[in-house]
């Protein structure tokens, strides 16, 4: 009887929520939420958000034109000023990673492949709509070469020319011009004008978001920690696609809760828990594999130097004269000058930044993630390791990708590393 009914109903595509892709997100999110104790109550906003967007495939509304960005270098203040909405397209899903493998050579960065896989699929998650423009800053080779492929998928692509030497004056001048050209591209796209008032409003908005981020960042200085790194990563990952004002309010709420926790002497981890600074290729939901492994093993990620979190939100813009020109130039400088992305020729700033984070956050060690195939991070490993060696700071280098296959092996290595950090701490005490 039942069989008969099935025969008359036309075949429907399975709903997203029952797809393997949603399952991937579901597993990770459940792990984040259920396998740790005493999550901050204010994290519920973010848990729900990810559940809706990644597990149920709910739509996210946005206003104005939608501008997809493939990297943090695309000045979002400008996008907001033109009344458009930016969405960061860097993707962390293994499902899309596999899909994207068609476009790239076998040994390529999971992040780039996942982004391509996402853009090439019919059902793009997060479901924010089709970007009216994809801005692809000319950073690493793999991203550069993606431009044409993304265009081939039917998107309008804008190559935002980004210098790969950042110390020189020529690069500053060049980048400032690039940013201006980007602004005129946005003007063409939106038909709106960039004015002092709308840019100021946009900067006030991102400024408030950044202030909230910095406050959260500062709470993580506390020993023992008030909040786990997996939650902090989830918060910054939400910034990729969430409405910026709503996001800011949610982070401010979280900060208020952390302030209470601090006053109450709350500890989210044991006092002996090794404190870790996370650096390298960016963890992006659902690929929070490493942070989760670290915290499962009893460590805590107290700070990071990655472009899915700290680097995306930390650096703030100063303006001397609030006139359009000065604002745009200052913004341009903010995106180029403090950036510690490995695509640049030199990485002195990255090394100094890492040393400072370890020092300021009283970290016991550093974990360096490099996606296999992300050559720039792989190549910088040596110099960063040498720097830490000199400073006597232990570092664990992990090359991995989005596939869950290496979890077992990684967890053994991470446990051993954390154990050695603990012993070291004991010996020092």
């Amino acid at each position: 009887m039942e069989n008969e009914i099935h025969q008359v109903i036309p075949i429907q595509p399975a709903p997203y929520s029952r797809s393997r892709q949603a399952g991937e997100a579901q597993t990770v999110l459940d792990h984040i939420v259920d396998d740790f104790e005493e999550n901050p109550a204010a994290m519920q906003y973010f848990y729900d958000l990810f559940r809706q967007v990644y597990c149920h495939g709910d739509e996210i509304p946005h206003s104005g034109k939608l501008v997809g960005t493939t990297c943090i270098q695309a000045p979002e203040e400008l996008i907001y000023a033109f009344g458009a909405t930016p969405v960061r397209l860097c993707n962390g899903s293994y499902h899309y990673d596999q899909r994207g493998a068609d476009f790239m050579p076998a040994k390529s960065c999971s992040l780039v492949k996942a982004t391509l896989g996402m853009l090439s699929s019919d059902n793009v998650i997060p479901k924010i709509g089709k970007p009216d423009l994809v801005v692809n800053p000319s950073t690493c080779d793999q991203k550069k070469k993606s431009s044409v492929m993304i265009e081939g998928m039917g998107y309008q692509v804008y190559d935002l020319e980004f210098p790969n030497v950042k110390e020189s004056e020529a690069s500053r001048v060049y980048w400032r011009r690039s940013v201006r050209e980007f602004a005129s591209e946005l003007r063409k796209l939106t038909g709106k004008r960039l004015t002092r008032a709308n840019l100021k409003a946009a900067m006030a908005m991102t400024g408030r978001a950044q202030a909230a981020f910095r406050a959260l960042h500062n709470f993580r200085r506390q020993t023992p920690s008030l909040i786990l790194g997996k939650d902090a990563f989830l918060v910054t990952n939400a910034y990729f696609f969430d409405d910026i004002s709503r996001w800011t309010v949610a982070v401010e709420k979280l900060n208020a809760e952390l302030a209470e926790r601090q006053a109450a002497g709350f500890r989210a981890v044991q006092s002996k828990a090794p404190r870790v600074v996370f650096t390298g290729s960016p963890p992006i939901f659902p690929n929070l594999k490493l942070p989760l492994l670290i915290e499962e093993a009893g460590g805590v990620v107290v700070a990071d130097e990655t472009c899915s979190a700290n680097r995306m939100l930390y650096d703030m813009t100063a303006v001397d004269e609030w006139l359009l020109n000065d604002m745009v130039d200052s913004l341009a400088d903010k995106y180029l000058k403090p950036c510690t992305c490995p695509i640049f020729t030199r990485n002195d700033d990255r090394k100094r930044r890492l040393l400072d984070l370890v020092d300021q956050f009283k970290a016991d060690g550093v974990i360096y993630q490099a996606f296999s195939g992300c050559q720039v991070y792989e190549m910088e490993y040596r110099s960063v390791a040498e720097e830490f060696n000199k400073a006597g700071i232990p570092m664990l280098y992990i090359e991995t990708d989005y596939s869950p296959d290496d979890q077992g092996q990684l967890s053994t290595r991470i446990e051993a590393f954390l154990e050695s950090l603990k012993n070291r701490k004991k010996r020092r005490a």
Binding site: M203, A204, G207, M316, T317, A318, L323, N325, D333
Partner: protein, 331 residues
């Protein structure tokens, strides 16, 4: 409440101050003092390390050291090596004592000619016109000019004293100094705005003076602190700045090289952002205006110290407050 939290509170208030407004009022008061203080019989001597112009005879509350210096150097050579050399020496020491207190902070906070340039900049800003910058190449060339002017300012009077140059060339820098014409105007004295036809040299020097004053007005409209870049006083400051009490310090380990400090620097000093090794970060062009400290988002990366004690430190909270204000009402 114990002393410590109170001190911390004070420190927070200072570090989070609305810096531009504070500086504006400070400069205004200093301007009034040095341009009109004379009417209240204030006289702080003639060895001041900034342009409190001696030609502003009635209003001045003290005299710019460059005036007596050039006069002293311009005495006949024989005299120069007698008793007068002692006078030169004590004069110089008095000048150094004044200078040591604020270092180049005299430029950033007190010098009437410096303040005037800031006002002209503010006028431009209110008109919505953007400032200009030098290219790096231009900067590298132009930054030397103040030292050349300083050398000439010393050599020409010596030459006058030695009979090589005409007396009409003395005091050489004052003759071309924009302050000589501009500051007396504030007390209603326009007499400096004349060409002296008594000799060819006099015509040339006074005409040059007028052109430079015109250039000063146009220049400071286009470029922030246009004149300070070429100021021989600033060059002299730099040469004796080592023992000064007020200092600009940088902790490179806390600096992200974000360039925010450079973005607000009126003197376009790149080192303030890019140099992460030097701790004493005041360069020859710096006016110690401390705008960079106010706009550095990294707590403790930049600070002003007085006799080694931090008095104004960059803080994240201060930065956020000031930038917020900029986004709301910034001009």
């Amino acid at each position: 409440m114990s002393a410590k939290p109170v001190l911390d509170k004070v420190r927070d208030v200072v570090n989070e101050v609305d810096f531009n407004r504070f500086r504006f009022w400070f400069q205004l008061v200093a301007f009034v003092l040095f341009v009109y203080g004379g009417y209240l019989a204030i006289d702080l001597g003639s060895k001041l390390p900034f342009f409190s112009c001696g030609y502003n005879r009635e209003g001045r509350a003290g005299v710019c050291y460059l005036l007596p210096l050039q006069h002293q150097l311009g005495r006949p050579l024989a005299m120069l090596f007698s008793m007068a050399s002692l006078a030169i020496l004590t004069g110089f020491l008095t000048f150094v004592l004044w200078f040591i207190v604020l270092n180049k902070g005299w430029c950033g906070f007190v010098c009437p000619l410096g303040t005037l340039q800031d006002w002209i900049s503010a006028l431009r800003r209110r008109m919505g016109i953007r400032f200009s910058n030098y290219t790096q190449g231009q900067f590298a060339q132009l930054t030397k000019i103040k030292f050349v002017l300083l050398a000439l300012m010393i050599l020409i009077p010596l030459g006058v004293g030695g009979g090589i140059f005409s007396r009409d060339m003395s005091p050489p820098f004052c003759l071309i100094c924009p302050a000589r014409m501009i500051l007396p105007m504030f007390t209603g004295d326009f007499s400096q705005f004349t060409v002296d036809f008594s000799s060819k040299t006099a015509i040339f020097m006074t005409a040059l003076g007028i052109s430079i004053t015109a250039l000063f007005l146009v220049g400071s409209f286009v470029k922030k602190r246009f004149f300070c870049f070429f100021c021989p006083m600033s060059a002299l400051h730099y040469l004796i700045s080592k023992p000064a009490l007020l200092k600009l310090k940088k902790d490179g380990s806390k600096c992200t090289r974000c360039g925010d400090c450079y973005a607000v620097c009126d003197m376009e000093i790149k080192e303030i952002a890019d140099d992460v090794k030097t701790t004493d970060i005041m360069t020859d062009d710096c006016t110690l205006c401390l705008k960079c400290v106010a706009s550095c988002p990294e707590s403790g990366a930049l600070k002003a110290t007085f006799a080694g004690i931090p008095i104004f430190v960059s803080t994240e909270a201060g930065f956020i407050k000031r930038m917020n204000k900029g986004c709301q009402h910034g001009k």
